[in-house]
C-alpha cells in the first residue's frame, strides 16, 4: 500500500518535470538552430555548392574531413596537443589579419612616401624610446617623451611630408618597406629568441639575420607571381611569417605539443590531394560567387563582375582607426574610473554619475549615434573668433571612424573596467608597499594583468563596429563606390553598406549570389576576430592558475 502511494506520487511529478526540462532544453536550441540553418543556406549559396558533384563531396570527405575529425578525436584527451593546435591556428589567423590590414593601410592607402614620413617621425622615435625605457628603467622622462612624440610626431610628419617623401621616392617602394618592416621585424625576432626561448646569443643574432636574408632571397621567386609585389612580400613575411614562426618554434620545443603539427599538415595536404584527385577524376566542382575576382573588383551592374574590393578596403581602414581610438580612450577612461577617481565624497558622486552615464550610453540605439556623428562632424559650422570648424565632411573615413568609435566606446570601457577590477587588490598594495607610485603600479602591475581581458573585450566590440550600418548611412557614407578610399578625408564604403545596397536589387543572381558572397566575407572576418578574442581569453584563463 505504502509502496504504491510512493511510486504514484513520483511518477506524476516526474513526467511534468521531464517535459519541462526538455522544453527548456529545446528553447535554448531554437535560436541557435535557426541561425545555423540560415548560415548553412548563405554559405551554400555563396560557395556555389549546388553545382558540386557527388565525387567532389566524396573526395573531400575522405582526404580532408575524415582526417580532421580523426585529429579532433585524438586531441580531445590531450590538452597539450589541443593547446598547441589552438596556438598554431590562432597565430596564423592573427598574422593573416595583421598582414592583410598592414598591406591595405601601408601599401594600398598610405603608399611608401606617406608611410615612410610618419614611420620616421612617429613610429621610429616611439620604438627607440621604448627600447631605451627597457634599458634604463629609472628614466622617468621616457614615458613623457613618448606622449610628446604621439602629439608632436604627426605635426612634424605633416611638415616634412615633401622632404621625406622625395627621399622615399628615391629609395623606391620595396626599399621603404624593407627598411620599415623587415629590419624592425628582424630586431624583434632576435629579441624574442633571446628573451622567450632563452636562445644563445649566436642563435638569436642568427634569427635576426635570417629574416632580412630570407626577404632578399625570396625576391626573385616573388617576382614570378603576378599578384605579389615585392612590398607585399615583405609585409607578409614579417607580419604573417613571424607570428607563424613563433607559434611553430613554441610548439616544436615542447615534445608533448609536437603532435599538433598534424593539423596544418592535414589541412594543407588534404586540400592539395583533394585538388589532384578531383582534377584526375574530372568531378564537377562548385562554382563559388565568393572567389578572387569577387574580392578584387569593384561593384558592377553585372552580377558576374561585381565585387567587394572598395568595401573591404574601406572596412579594414575603418576598423584600424576605430581600434586605435577606442583602445586609447576606452582603456584611459577605465583606468581613470577604476584607479584614480575617488569612490566617495562629492567627486565620488561624479564618478558614480559617469559610470551610470556610460552604461546608459551602451544602450543608446546605433542610429542615434549616427545622428550624433551627423550633428558634430558633418552638419556643423561654428566660429570661435578667428578659428572656424565646419566638420570633417559627409561620409569621409575620419567621420565614420570617429562616429563608430563613440558608438563602441562604452562597451570597451565597461569590459576594460571589469578586467581592471579583476586584478586582486593585494597586488596593488604590494606594489605600493615597495614604494611604487600610482602610475608605476598601473604600468607594471595592473595593466599587464588585465591586458588579456581588455584585449578580448576590445576585439569583441570591434566586431560590433565592423558590422554596423545605420550610423554609416546617417553620416552620409555612399553605398556604391568604385575606388577604395585614398586617405582620411576621402569618402568610403564599407562591407555592410555594400550588402545593404545590393540587397534591394531585384535580380536573383544578386540576391542569392553576390549578396550571399558579401555576407559570407563579412562573417568570415567577424569569425576570425572573435576566434582570436576567444583564444586570447582561453590562454589567459590557463595562465591565471
Amino acid at each position: 500500500m505504502a509502496t504504491q502511494n510512493e511510486t504514484g506520487f513520483g511518477q506524476i511529478s516526474r513526467l511534468r518535470g521531464t517535459v519541462f526540462k526538455y522544453l527548456t532544453f529545446g528553447a535554448s536550441l531554437v535560436g541557435i538552430l535557426a541561425l545555423g540553418v540560415l548560415l548553412a543556406y548563405v554559405f551554400w549559396d555563396a560557395l556555389g555548392l549546388d553545382s558540386a558533384g557527388t565525387a567532389w563531396y566524396l573526395t573531400y570527405t575522405v582526404v580532408l574531413l575524415a582526417p580532421l575529425l580523426g585529429f579532433l578525436a585524438y586531441a580531445r584527451d590531450r590538452p597539450a596537443v589541443t593547446a598547441g593546435a589552438l596556438e598554431l591556428v590562432g597565430f596564423t589567423l592573427a598574422g593573416g589579419l595583421l598582414s592583410f590590414a598592414a598591406i591595405i593601410v601601408l601599401i594600398v592607402i598610405a603608399g611608401p612616401q606617406v608611410w615612410l614620413t610618419y614611420f620616421l617621425t612617429v613610429i621610429a622615435p616611439l620604438i627607440g624610446l621604448f627600447l631605451y625605457g627597457q634599458y634604463d628603467r629609472e628614466a622617468t622622462w621616457v614615458g613623457l617623451a613618448m606622449l610628446g612624440t604621439v602629439v608632436a610626431g604627426p605635426i612634424a610628419g605633416t611638415l616634412l611630408l615633401g622632404t621625406i617623401g622625395s627621399a622615399a621616392a628615391l629609395l623606391g617602394a620595396p626599399g621603404v618597406y624593407f627598411l620599415s618592416l623587415v629590419l624592425p621585424g628582424a630586431g624583434l625576432a632576435a629579441f624574442l629568441a633571446a628573451d622567450r626561448f632563452d636562445a644563445s646569443t649566436r642563435v638569436s643574432v642568427g634569427t635576426g639575420v635570417v629574416i632580412p636574408v630570407l626577404a632578399i632571397v625570396g625576391v626573385p621567386l616573388v617576382d614570378t607571381v603576378p599578384v605579389m609585389a615585392r612590398s607585399v612580400w615583405f609585409a607578409v613575411l614579417v607580419l604573417l611569417g613571424m607570428p607563424v614562426g613563433y607559434a611553430v618554434a613554441n610548439t616544436a620545443r615542447r615534445p608533448a605539443r609536437r603532435a599538433a603539427f598534424a593539423l596544418p599538415a592535414i589541412a594543407v595536404g588534404g586540400l592539395l590531394i583533394g585538388e589532384l584527385v578531383v582534377g584526375a577524376v574530372g568531378a564537377s566542382q562548385p562554382s563559388p560567387w565568393l572567389d578572387w575576382q569577387f574580392l578584387t573588383s569593384p561593384t558592377s551592374s553585372l552580377p558576374v563582375s561585381a565585387g567587394l574590393y572598395p568595401a573591404v578596403i574601406g572596412s579594414v581602414f575603418l576598423i584600424i582607426l576605430v581600434s586605435i581610438f577606442t583602445f586609447v580612450f576606452g582603456v584611459g577612461t577605465a583606468l581613470y574610473l577604476e584607479e584614480y577617481a575617488p569612490a566617495s565624497g562629492p567627486v565620488g558622486t561624479l564618478t558614480r554619475l559617469i559610470n551610470v552615464n556610460i552604461s546608459n550610453l551602451a544602450g543608446v540605439p546605433s542610429v542615434v549615434y549616427g545622428l550624433l556623428g551627423l550633428g558634430i562632424f558633418v552638419n556643423i559650422d561654428v566660429q570661435f573668433g578667428p578659428v572656424g570648424y565646419a566638420g570633417i565632411g559627409a561620409g569621409t573615413v575620419l567621420t565614420a571612424a570617429l562616429t563608430l568609435s563613440l558608438l563602441i566606446l562604452p562597451i570597451v570601457v565597461i569590459s576594460a573596467q571589469e578586467a581592471i577590477r579583476s586584478v586582486p587588490d593585494s597586488l596593488r598594495q604590494a606594489s605600493y608597499g615597495m614604494g611604487a607610485t600610482r602610475w608605476q603600479t598601473i604600468r607594471n602591475v595592473v595593466l599587464p594583468r588585465s591586458l588579456p581581458g581588455i584585449l578580448t573585450g576590445t576585439i569583441l566590440a570591434l566586431g560590433r563596429a565592423i558590422g554596423e550600418t545605420a550610423p554609416l548611412i546617417m553620416i552620409g557614407a555612399v553605398g556604391t563606390k568604385y575606388t577604395p578610399p585614398g586617405g582620411l578625408f576621402d569618402t568610403l564604403t564599407a562591407m555592410p553598406m555594400q550588402i545593404y545596397t545590393w540587397a534591394f536589387l531585384p535580380s536573383e543572381e544578386f540576391r542569392y549570389g553576390v549578396v550571399a558572397a558579401g555576407v559570407v566575407t563579412l562573417l568570415i572576418v567577424l569569425l576570425s576576430m572573435n576566434s582570436i578574442a576567444i583564444l586570447v581569453r582561453n590562454k589567459y584563463q590557463q595562465e591565471a592558475y
Partner: protein
C-alpha cells in the same frame, strides 16, 4: 653614528616623477571626460535640430504626435509620428513574443538543468546570436525567411483551408522573427545571471520540503530572480525598439496604415485584432526605418523634412533611455538581497 639626527631622504629625487604622475592622471581624466561629452553632444544635437523642426510653420508639436500620416517627401507633407510608432510597436511586440519566452526558458535551462559542460558550450553559441551584424539578419529575413513563410502559409491554406494572406516582399512578421532571434541572448544571459545568484540554500530548503526540481525552478528560483528577469525583458525590448538595419531590409519603407478605430457599447474605442494581425503581412516601417529613409533620400539639409529626422531621433532616444533607466531602477530597487 654620524647620521644621527639626520632624517633619511625617503622621497628621493621626485621632481620629474611628480610631473609624470599628474600628467598621466589628467590625461586619463580627459579620456573619462569624453563619455560625458558624448552624452552632452547627443542631447545637444537632438534638441537643437528638433527645436528647429518644431519651430517651422509646417508642423506643430501637437500635429507631430497626433497626425496619422507620415509623408515627409510627398505633397501634401505630413509629419505624424503615430504610424511609425505603430510600426515600432508591431515589430517590438512580435520580437518580444519570440524572444521573451525562449530567452526565459533558456535561462532556466542554463541555470537549473544544464551540466557545467553543456553550459560552457551553449553560452558562447548563444552569444553568437547577438554578434551577427543586423544587416545580415535583415538579409536573411528578406531572402530566406519570407519565402519560407510563404511556402508554409500556402501549404496551410491549401491543406487546412485557413485564409491567411500571403506575405509581401517586405513584411512585419519576418522582421519580428529576426529581431526576436537577435535579442534572445540579452534576455537569457541577464536572466541567467539573476537566477544563478539565487543562493543554493533556498533551493535546498525547497527540496527539504519535498518539492521537485520543477517546483523549485518555477516556484522558488524564478520568483526570487524576478527583478533581474524583468530588467532583462525591458532591456531586450528597448534594444528591439532601437533596432534598425534588420527592420529596414525586412519590413520595408512604408509605414503601416492605422486601422480604423471602432467603438464598443458606443463609448469604448478599440482596434480590431484581425486588423492589427493583418498589418504583419505588409510593409511596416518603424521610427528607425523612417530615419534611414530620410537620410538616404535627397532631401536638402535644413529643410523641415530633413529636420524631422532629429525629432524622430529625439523621440527614439527618450523612449530607449527611459526604458534603460527603468530597467536599472527595477534591478536595483526590487533586488532580493541575500547574504
Amino acid at each position: 653614528m654620524s647620521n644621527e639626527g639626520q632624517t633619511p631622504d625617503l622621497t628621493g629625487d621626485r621632481g620629474l616623477q611628480t610631473v609624470r604622475e599628474s600628467t598621466y592622471k589628467y590625461a586619463l581624466a580627459g579620456c573619462a571626460l569624453l563619455s560625458v561629452l558624448t552624452t552632452v553632444g547627443i542631447i545637444a544635437v537632438l534638441f537643437v535640430d528638433a527645436a528647429e523642426f518644431f519651430a517651422s510653420p509646417v508642423v506643430t508639436l501637437g500635429e507631430f504626435f497626433t497626425s496619422t500620416r507620415f509623408s515627409p517627401n510627398l505633397e501634401p507633407v505630413s509629419f505624424g509620428i503615430l504610424p511609425l510608432v505603430l510600426g515600432t510597436l508591431l515589430i517590438t511586440f512580435g520580437a518580444a513574443l519570440v524572444a521573451l519566452p525562449i530567452g526565459l526558458l533558456t535561462a532556466i535551462y542554463l541555470s537549473e538543468y544544464a551540466s557545467p559542460r553543456t553550459r560552457s558550450v551553449l553560452k558562447p553559441m548563444l552569444e553568437v546570436l547577438a554578434g551577427v551584424p543586423t544587416v545580415v539578419y535583415g538579409y536573411f529575413a528578406l531572402v530566406y525567411i519570407t519565402p519560407a513563410l510563404n511556402v508554409v502559409i500556402r501549404t496551410l491554406n491549401g491543406a487546412v483551408g485557413t485564409q491567411f494572406p500571403t506575405l509581401g516582399l517586405f513584411n512585419g512578421i519576418s522582421a519580428s522573427i529576426v529581431v526576436g532571434i537577435m535579442i534572445i541572448p540579452m534576455v537569457s544571459s541577464i536572466s541567467e545571471d539573476a537566477m544563478s545568484s539565487v543562493p543554493d540554500s533556498l533551493r535546498q530548503a525547497g527540496y527539504g520540503l519535498g518539492a521537485t526540481k520543477f517546483n523549485v525552478s518555477l516556484r522558488i528560483v524564478v520568483p526570487a530572480a524576478v527583478s533581474g528577469i524583468a530588467s532583462s525583458f525591458i532591456l531586450a525590448i528597448s534594444r528591439a525598439i532601437g533596432e534598425t538595419m534588420a527592420v529596414v531590409l525586412a519590413a520595408g519603407s512604408r509605414p503601416p496604415d492605422i486601422p480604423p478605430v471602432q467603438t464598443a457599447f458606443g463609448i469604448i474605442p478599440y482596434v480590431g485584432p484581425g486588423d492589427l494581425l493583418g498589418l504583419y503581412s505588409e510593409s511596416a516601417a518603424t521610427m528607425t526605418v523612417a530615419m534611414i529613409n530620410i537620410a538616404v533620400s535627397d532631401l536638402s539639409g535644413g529643410s523641415t523634412a530633413y529636420q524631422s529626422l532629429f525629432a524622430i531621433g529625439l523621440t527614439l532616444f527618450v523612449i530607449t533611455l527611459g526604458m534603460n533607466v527603468i530597467s536599472d531602477a527595477i534591478a536595483s530597487r526590487y533586488r532580493e538581497e541575500y547574504e
